[in-house]
Amino acid sequence: MSKMVMTKKGKIADLRSAEEIKAERRKGRTGVYLVVPGMLVLFLFFALPVIVLLSMSLYARPEGAEIGEFVPALEFGNYVTVLSAYWSELVRSFGFALIATVLALLIGYPMAYLVAVRLRQHGLLQGILLVLLIAPFFSSFILRTQAWKQILADEGWVAQTLKLIAVLPADGHLTATPFAVVAGLTYNFLPFMVLPIYANLGRLDTRLLEASGDLYASPMTSFFKVTLPLSAPGVFAGTLLTFIPAAGDYVNAALLGNNRNTTMIGQVIDSRFFKVIDYPGAAALSFILMLSILILVTLYIRRFGTKELM
């Protein structure tokens, strides 16, 4: 392709004709036209807003100011205030997200394996299950979360049955509990876990499993030594796609939780923005959330990530 060569003095000589160079330059300009409009949108409405958010998190509220009135300042105390007030909500959000991610992995991996490997010879059934995996993306997730709320409600048959067989105490609840919130998170982000793993397992060469079986590996050993390592990139992508939105979610906590021990950080940010009208506090919390996720994700990528993922 390239007609550049290194001369003896180490300089790069260009052996292309003038027309060729001109043609390439024109090509280069097309590239700029292609990329600039979209990048401008990303800059104006993603990068700049994050900077605005950062500066807003440092605004101060002057003495005797009206509600919602703030002046630009460098009030780093905002961070201390919100962290000390909402530390537990922040930790809880990450805790819930972590449990939901682990549960989604435990439930999602067998689903992906079933569809991608076990049903490989059964095209029709595989197609049907794949359709069912993708379809929830297109039905309203708030409607589904609300459906869970009604299914698990105190007077619903699930709660009644559990009370009948004494799994649940007579005055117990399923909704308005941390259990319900984590279950909701797991449910809502499950397809995000399954689809990347499915994509990876779909390429799994089953002859490798036969080979390991021939070498006297038990199915269990084959799974942990062959299948799981080969599907690691899918597991990695799935866990990120589940954890990140789950940590910031507040729909599940709002619909399935209560006001005491299920409040997540997203709810706090929302209420500081819209109910309390504390823009600096809300901005500081948002920024803390973003930064902690970025740090966690970076550590996770360093520890488990492979090059081809990024």
Binding site: G31, L42, I134, F137, I151, I244
Partner: protein, 265 residues
């Protein structure tokens, strides 16, 4: 014997998980036939009334139309801009490579609540009134990164020799792009557009931050959830699900036929 039980563990867990995935959808579908009145909380009797008159409850259809309008515009713009970026980044050389990559990946690693809050901060700063325009902008931003990632994977996997072959056959670069490259990219672009539309249509958190009084379908349901969602919302939810099933099935059938056709050659 032990082997036999072992064989059923994965289909067993997987099958149960599919039930778990579909229970609420079945619930929504069944309760779309509930003769519910205002609050659709308990079963009161079977009726086709909700399906015959899906706009019967106030604000259901208005919010649906709003969501569709936002979704269509956001999908078209984000797919167009994202596809251009994906092609440009793969095919041309740039100086600020690392920076553009960060700008594309970072929105994917940012939770919705932060995306929503930062855009709100921006709009407050600019003094823009929240409404249709601000929602569309917000949706374009969060859909675009997904489009770029999806289409870019497709562009990188293209065989460059195809375009070279076209050039050898005296095709202009433009003709080679539109006759060879673009048709090969179409499945990826369609997938990205469908994903964008689904995400935009279903988005609540970012919308809630940037919509002001503008009502979208998820917002309507969220607000209605506190006092009872009308059965008509279930009708729309079920209809969307069925429509999505049909779209996905048609896509699968087309992909299957394509594979078969290619295999025959």
């Amino acid at each position: 014997m032990k082997q036999k039980i072992g064989r059923w563990i994965i289909p067993g867990i997987g099958g149960l998980a599919f039930v778990y995935l579909l229970v609420p959808i079945a619930y929504i579908f069944v309760f779309s036939f509930n003769d519910a009145g205002r609050t659709n909380l308990e079963w009161r009797g079977f009726t086709f009334g909700n399906w015959q008159n899906p706009c019967g409850a106030p604000a259901v259809c208005e919010s649906l139309v709003n969501s569709l309008q936002v979704g269509v515009v956001a999908t078209i713009v984000s797919t167009a801009l994202g596809t251009c970026i994906a092609i440009g980044l793969v095919r041309y050389k740039f100086r600020f490579r690392k920076l553009t990559d960060v700008l594309i990946i970072l929105p994917l690693a940012t939770p919705e609540v932060v995306l929503g809050a930062s855009l709100l901060a921006q709009f407050l700063n600019l003094g823009w009134e929240l409404g249709y325009t601000t929602i569309v902008i917000a949706h374009i931003v969060f859909c675009m990164s997904f489009v770029i990632v999806t289409v870019r994977a497709r562009v990188s996997s293209l065989d460059p020799r195809l375009e070279e072959a076209a050039a050898d056959l005296y095709s202009t670069p433009r003709a080679a792009f539109w006759k060879i490259t673009f048709p090969l990219l179409v499945p990826g672009i369609v997938a990205a557009a469908l994903l964008s539309f689904a995400m935009s249509f279903d988005d609540f958190i970012i919308t809630n931050f940037n919509s002001g009084t503008f009502q979208t379908f998820p917002k309507f349901i969220y607000v209605a959830a506190t006092r009872g969602i009308p059965a008509q919302a279930n009708v729309i939810g079920s209809a969307m699900f069925i429509a999505a099933l049909l779209v996905v099935i048609v896509g699968q059938v087309m992909a299957y036929r394509r594979r078969k056709r290619l295999a025959q050659r």
